[in-house]
């Protein structure tokens, strides 16, 4: 292996950092966008809910005011009947009445009532006496409903002791009319009624809240009127009742319903709508925000990754350059001693016994002579050429290093399948190295043929650690030197290497 293959390890580390940075940045950006999005949505949610509750509450109050205004107007019209003296002094049950006078008095009272109610959609507007004689207009429906118990039943509806009046509907299960009664004197009650249908104008809610259900209920939460008209007479649904019971004016919202209640006289105006319905737009908006957020997250992450890549790119280049410079012997272009020992040591430490490796040491014979006779430049040239020879003979998978002034070392990593083949392969490489060294250091160039001694040791047979293998290899190399130089030998215990 050359310095190029060695630098891969550092670059891998830099790439790991680069990827970690890119992913980390992407994650941070996504987390930040997500956090902002969730916070924004939750905050918007809370604000929107408060606004909806507030608006519904306003609507409910408005409905109550509408009803209150409508009822007050009727009460006022009823009270105005007392502006005609005859209306509260005349008693149709008095046996001493002159019949002719009585007829004329009743006509006066009738005219007064007509003039008061002239522009109103009233079904009934008249006075009922204890003997069930009526003055003014009493509809057939009311007559049939109460029959001969009219005075008796209407009198029972007077609930307020101060103003001597009262409101009711639902007599005998008939919710078609809403009645207002006011005691005129002990033998007479004034009655005004209107069709419950009239309340559709009173409870006319805006189109944007058309899904809102509006019901008028009594103190026992029995429905007196509902906008769709079908619930009249039935109890308010338990779901709604449980949310407002005991409250005179309140608005409640949970995951199921938004309910608002307001008391009007002895009745309650209840407005409610399923939460999902009223907040449908909010959920739509939430989906939109999340969708936009996800797209923003992806874009931000991509942008972050791109910026990280841009940021780490020069670092990666610099690391690559520095790594090359730090691990390479400048003269020969192969690994320096430290790097070689580190790489070879690590490789051997992590190797299995079944793997085949070999260490080859080349030491230039009489190198000092080259320096002394031809000068250091020639020596340097020889050393540089030796680096080229090593690169030429060994493959990229092998580690090549200069470990001394004129000493080179190679860790051969790859080889044949069997031990015999591997040994043969090393022999071939040593022969090739010897020959190539010869070719590179000819007498023509250096004044004499410069030679080198080569030693080889096998892993794991000759040593397992770097030190063991190096020692064995070094010994083999010295045996080659002792045997006349310019050749190679394998470590052999029997030959005295041990």
């Amino acid at each position: 292996m050359s310095n190029k293959s060695h630098s891969r390890g550092h670059l891998k580390a830099v790439r790991r950092i680069q990827i970690t940075m890119m992913l980390g940045f992407a994650f941070l950006v996504m987390a930040a966008v997500l956090a902002v999005m969730v916070l924004a949505v939750n905050k918007t949610d809370a604000v929107l809910k408060n606004k909806v509750v507030s608006m519904t509450s306003s609507l409910s109050v408005q409905m109550k005011l509408n009803l209150s205004g409508y009822m007050n107007r009727m009460e006022t019209i009823a009270t105005l009947a007392f502006g005609e003296k005859e209306s509260y002094t005349y008693d149709a049950t008095d046996p001493n009445n002159d019949e002719y006078e009585a007829i004329n008095t009743e006509k006066v009272i009738s005219d007064k009532l007509f003039s008061l109610c002239i522009m109103e959609n009233f079904v009934d507007y008249g006075i009922v006496y204890r003997n069930n004689r009526t003055v003014g207009k009493l509809s057939n429906g009311t007559m049939s409903l109460f029959g001969e118990k009219m005075f008796e039943e209407l009198s029972k509806m007077v609930k307020d002791p101060r103003s001597q009046d009262g409101w009711f509907t639902g007599y005998e299960g008939d919710f078609r009319r809403i009645y207002y009664v006011k005691q005129v004197h002990e033998n007479a009650v004034l009655v005004i009624s209107f069709y419950a249908n009239e309340l559709s104008e009173v409870f006319d809610n805006p189109e944007t809240l058309s899904g809102m259900q509006i019901q008028l209920v009594d103190g026992n939460y029995k429905t007196l009127y509902s906008k769709n008209g079908k619930e009249a007479g039935t109890p308010l649904s338990e779901d709604i009742r449980s949310r407002i019971e005991g409250h005179d004016s309140a608005t409640a919202m949970d995951n199921e319903y938004l309910v608002s209640v307001n008391k009007c006289n002895d009745w309650y105006v209840v407005c409610y709508i399923p939460t999902q319905k009223i907040l449908a737009e909010k959920n739509e908006m939430k989906r939109y925000i999340y969708m936009a957020g996800v797209i923003a997250m992806v874009l931000a992450a991509m942008l972050g990754m791109y910026l990280s890549w841009l940021l780490t790119k020069p670092v990666k280049y610099m690391v690559s350059e520095l790594d090359n410079k730090a691990s390479t012997d400048r003269l020969t272009g192969i690994l320096n001693k430290l790097t070689f020992e580190e790489l070879a040591g690590t490789t051997l430490q992590n190797s299995l016994n079944s793997e085949h490796r070999a260490m080859v040491i080349l030491d230039i014979d009489d190198f000092k002579r080259v320096n002394d006779t031809l000068g250091h430049a020639a020596g340097d040239k020889l050393l540089a050429g030796t680096g080229g020879v090593l690169r030429q003979v060994f493959s990229d998978d092998d580690y090549l290093g200069r470990i001394g002034g004129d000493e080179f070392c190679v860790l051969v990593n790859s080889g044949a399948q069997s031990e015999e083949e591997f040994v043969e392969h090393i022999k071939n490489r040593c022969q090739a190295l010897n020959k190539a060294f010869h070719d590179n250091s000819t007498a023509a160039e250096y004044g004499y043929q410069v030679t080198a001694s080569i030693g080889a040791a096998l892993y794991p047979k000759d040593g397992k650690s770097f030190e063991e293998l190096y020692t064995a290899c070094d010994k083999a190399m010295y045996r080659a030197k002792k045997s006349g130089k310019d050749g190679f030998t394998f470590y052999d215990e029997k030959s005295g290497d041990a």
Partner: protein
């Protein structure tokens, strides 16, 4: 590098667009604007309830139109209509009495000319003779709904109980009173206007002349009014009828009234519960003086008409509503024959198709349609002031405040001051 910069900026812009940053447009939410038109009618509970239900259905069929209703009993409505017509606040579509055409639109300018809306209101359902009732000054001011007449309803079950035949003459009623009055039962009864028209019928039978001549002048003199007042007094005193002021509709249900004078359109209003109770009620012949043919002195008129305000801001919507009220199957289904048998061919055919042309009201209509002697009513005769003055004069006589002659003369003088009298 420039490319990279542009790409980065583009990405940011795209993200901002998605998140809606920089969007500060004003928010405008359009509400559906309904055209609001108004409708008015008079009538009893039944009519008001079914009309409200029919209008609810109309609004479903025409969600862009909102109909605001104004309604009351007859007497309240008449006064209210007057206030509105004079103040120019009348409703867009209104039920009117035939008499009001002369009162408010003698030249045809008082109401909208419906013939101008014939593209929307299907007038082919009405014959020209019928539409003539609503024509004034060559303009179609109103379209009649049905024909109507005061009718003599007899609770046959009560009459049978006393072994009395269904009365045909006034004398028959006096005879019936002799038998029924000991039990506190009246052979007939009527509200103010019905009794007024009953007494006019008697007056015409006795005098042989119509109450109004062709020039809209009252032909009756003091003597004729004296006869009417005395006849009314006799009927009250001999318990044929209760005092007009004592009339209570529920007495028809409890059997205190064995007969009743009322409009064809009142049949179900009066007797729905009685019939449901298993009693038999019939539409009898119009009572007359012995020897005269039934129907003499009695009147028929368009039950009511629908008109459109001359001041309406929404004539097209008003026409849609008018067509619905007159010709639609929906309205025909709700209305049935409550106002009498509808004149509109399509409404009438639909009622025939669903078997609603039957019952007491239908019988009363047939009595009216089949009678040859019944006259077309001059609408002026329904003026409430006219009959209220008559009732006041009658009470002077009934309660011994004046003789019949004095009361009649007082009444005649009052009429002379207020109305055109024939010489």
């Amino acid at each position: 590098m420039k490319k990279r910069f542009l790409a980065t900026i583009s990405a940011f812009c795209f993200a901002l667009t998605l998140t809606g940053c920089g969007n500060d447009k004003n928010v405008v939410v359009d509400q559906t604007v309904q055209t609001e038109i108004t409708l008015s009618w008079w009538g009893n509970d039944t009519r008001s309830e079914y009309t409200l239900a029919a209008i609810e259905e109309f609004e479903k069929l025409h969600p862009d139109i909102k109909v605001k209703c104004s309604y009351s009993e007859w007497s309240g409505y008449e006064a209210r209509n007057q206030v509105r017509m004079i103040s120019g606040t009348e409703t867009d579509v209104m039920q009117i009495n035939v008499g009001w055409l002369d009162q408010y639109s003698p030249d045809g300018e008082g109401y909208y000319d419906i013939s101008a809306l014939a593209d929307t209101v299907d007038l082919s359902n009405f014959s020209e003779d019928v539409l003539e009732y609503g024509m004034r000054g060559g303009k179609l001011n109103a379209v009649p709904i049905a024909m109507n007449a005061e009718t003599m309803y007899i609770n046959k079950s009560i009459y049978d109980k006393y072994g009395i035949d269904i009365p045909k003459t006034w004398d028959d009623l006096f005879e019936a009173a002799k038998v029924m009055s000991p039990d506190g039962i009246y052979p007939m009864a009527g509200a103010d206007k019905s009794m007024w028209l009953t007494l006019v019928a008697y007056g015409e039978q006795l005098s042989g002349k119509h109450f109004y001549n062709e020039n809209n002048e009252i032909t009756f003199n003091a003597k004729d009014f004296q006869n009417m007042i005395e006849f009314y007094g006799k009927m009250v005193n001999e318990k044929v009828i209760p005092l007009i002021e004592d009339y209570q509709k529920f007495n028809m249900e409890n059997g205190k009234y064995a007969g009743s004078i009322g409009w064809v359109s009142d049949a179900l209003n009066f007797y729905k519960n009685v019939i449901a109770d298993g009693q038999e009620v019939v539409a009898a012949d119009y009572p007359v003086i012995e020897g005269l043919p039934s129907g003499t002195g009695w009147y028929a008129k368009p039950a009511t008409l629908y008109a459109i305000s001359k001041n309406t801001e929404h004539p097209q919507e008003a026409a849609i509503l008018l067509d619905y009220m007159l010709n639609s199957r929906e309205m025909a289904k709700y209305q049935g024959i409550e106002k009498g048998i509808p004149i509109s061919t399509s409404a009438r055919n639909y009622l025939d198709e669903i078997g609603k042309l039957s019952g007491l009201q239908y019988e009363a209509s047939l009595v009216m349609e089949n009678n040859e002697y019944i006259s077309s009513m001059n609408s002026l005769i329904e003026n409430s002031a006219l009959f209220n003055d008559f009732i006041d004069a009658s009470n002077l006589y009934l309660f011994n405040k004046a003789t019949s002659k004095e009361a009649a003369e007082q009444l005649y003088e009052k009429y002379c001051e207020s109305y055109d009298m024939a010489k």
